[in-house]
């Protein structure tokens, strides 16, 4: 029974977090980050994200024009660096406004 309840909670929590991961990612890419550094940065701010979720997401955001990327070799290893694009910045501003409005609404609802 507890396992079922926990599974249900985990699933619903995942749904909740899925809704905010994009705005969270965009907000951290004012400065260039590569995949793993972004994972660490977000984790340091309390937002844990699966690497298996983040890397495909970065690609999708780039395909939508919200991010820009380039390969760079630093040290021994090539890394793909991402940064928010001008279009991404506009979208992020709009998303932040939406988020603020949503937070106010939810405070009233909950």
């Amino acid at each position: 029974m507890m396992t079922e309840k926990q599974n249900q909670l985990d699933s619903l929590t995942l749904e909740l977090r899925r809704g905010v991961v994009i705005i969270a990612v965009l907000s951290q890419l004012d400065e260039e980050q590569y995949g793993y550094s972004l994972v660490k940065l977000m984790a340091s701010k309390g937002f844990e994200v699966d690497q298996g979720t983040l890397y495909p997401l970065l690609r999708r955001l780039e395909e939508k024009g919200l991010l820009q990327s380039e390969w760079r070799v630093e040290g021994s290893r090539p890394r793909r660096y991402y940064v928010i694009s001008p279009q991404g910045k506009e979208i992020l501003t709009a998303l932040k406004d939406e988020w603020d409005a949503l937070v106010q609404v939810m405070e009233g609802v909950l």
Binding site: G35, Y36, G52, Y55, P56, R80
Partner: protein, 378 residues
Amino acid sequence: MTRKQDYKDLFFRYIDSVGRQLPKKRRDDIQEEILSNLEDTLEDRAQTENREPDEEMVVEILKEFGPPEKLAAAYLPQQYLIGPRIYPAFLMAMQIFLVIVVLQILVAAVASISSSSSDLVDIVISFGQAIPGFLATVYSTLLSIILVLAILERVLPQADDEAKIEAWVKVQNLFSRFISKTDELPASKHWNPRVLKQIEKENLISPRKLVLDIVLLFGLFSLFNIFPQWISALNHNPEWGWKFVPLLSSSFAAAYLPWLDLFWGLKIGLNAVVLRQGAWSQLTRWFQIGIKTLGIMILVSFFRGSPVIGLNPDYAAFHGLSGDVQSFAKESLLPGLSELFRLIVIINVVIHGLAWLRMVLGLTSQGAIIPLRVSKKG
């Protein structure tokens, strides 16, 4: 290969598995990025835990990344064999397919009846022999439908191409207007609530009618099983006056009565279930069609099988018919009535066949049947 190279080999095997599921164009780039991230993770983990990287650590990291197929799927757009856009068309195709299948069954039934001998059992056996070939046709047609729709799923415009999506849905709506009575498929955000389908009143029941049906069916059952000799024509002749001439032939009881009993029993059972449920449901409607199918087959066997109308010596003796009356019945009265009966059977086959077809088409074109409660006229 050294121990260090051993565990890194797992990384290469992993990205190879992921890459095999990615389109060629993007494969190398994605694989390189995943490998870079894997190595960064390994290096950082080794530093954090203050130990040398080893196979255990690599396995742990790969488990965090997830199975290769799951990671590969995350890089690709969601894929369906028959997705939500095509699914209404799939349902429509299946409805049409089902009607064609049922029509084929009917045609096969009629063909087996006309080619086989008189007995209903022979007819059923003959029909049964056609089933394997029929199933093969059904299977290949079904596969063709799925293949065509799967191809359509891949060539249709993507979700963000709104104009093309609207055009496609309008084509679907136009098609459905000629085929089905279902709701017009909504063209995304521009659908019209006014064209929503009316709630079908046919699902309302009249308990009085159902009870009456049950009583009549019991009456028929009793009459044909207990008092068959009373199924007779009242004939007047100046010579012998009014006489009851029994109509049912000697072969009737053996050839037809068990099937009629089954038919009436099923009808009584169905009416009782519907009465209890308070409304027709999808399942009971299908049962109704099944029973009607049996009824039509019995009617057809009347036409093709042993004579229904004839002089049964036992019944004749029950009514005290003399030899003259019996001769008259055999030579004049009963043959004429037999021809009339055959004509009535033909008319009934046509009427019930059309009703059957309407029921099947109506049921296959309906959406979910909303079980409504008993009608007020009750």
